[in-house]
Amino acid sequence: MANIYAVKTTVGQERNVAEMLCRRVEKVNREAEELNREAEELNHKAEKLKLNREAEKFNHKAEKLKHKAEKEKYNVYSALVSNEIRGYILVEAQDKTEIDKSLRGVSHSRGLVKGKIPFAEVEKFLEPKSIVTKVKQGDIVELISGPFRGEKARVVRVDQKKEKITVELFEATVPIPVTVDGESIRVIKKEVSEDETSG
């Protein structure tokens, strides 16, 4: 059974932390694999020996190597980065200890968050929907890419099929509608009551 935990990261470094963590796990596990292979060779040698005493020695050494491999390897299974969770990644492992072990020395990781995340919660991130599905006319958004990056705007139209959003920029003297890609925005405020939106 796998357990999933959130790991805090520096904002903007989520992907790097996930990559570094997993590459580290792969490297350590490859080394453990190597020990297991050595152990198997020793077992094989022991099998061919007629002398029980010698064989026992090889088998004993093999046992020790296998034990070492088991102790050294990291039982971490995956790391997930979602655009919907800034400053965190999700790490799947045998248990918490395994994540703690493998996180040591990974830069921009800020430690494990207590509390297991139920798989049902994680499933939501596995089938990410376009941001467009969550945007409504009247929402206030920030453009996060393209020529208007950093500007705030109000949504005037949403095209679900083409995943496009038409907005009016706040900074523009004349509010000209601009159509942008659905992935180039971040919702900063959902549509609120009339008196707050007008004026």
Binding site: A2, I4, R15, A18, E19, L21, C22, V25, E26, N29, N75, V76, Y77, S78, A79, L80, V81, S82, N83, E92, Q94, F119, V122, E123, F125, L126, E127, P128, K129, S130, E163, E183
Partner: protein
């Protein structure tokens, strides 16, 4: 400069190739979400996604 990262429209694997080496399907530059699968046998996420090879995958491809 690093080659642009793309994702296979079929298996979701991230690659710099225009065609996925596993599926022979076109890859896309427009992908979102990221998961690094280290142990496909033990990972529930991998099972849910139908991933059988360890590696880096996109969660949504356009």
């Amino acid at each position: 400069m690093a080659k642009k990262e793309k994702a296979c429209k079929h298996c979701r694997m991230i690659t710099s190739e225009d065609t996925c080496i596993y599926c022979n399907v076109n890859t896309s530059e427009e992908w979102f979400g990221f998961v690094y699968i280290v142990n496909p046998e033990k990972s529930e996420i991998a099972q849910k996604l139908g991933v059988k090879i360890n590696g880096r995958y996109a969660l949504r491809i356009r």
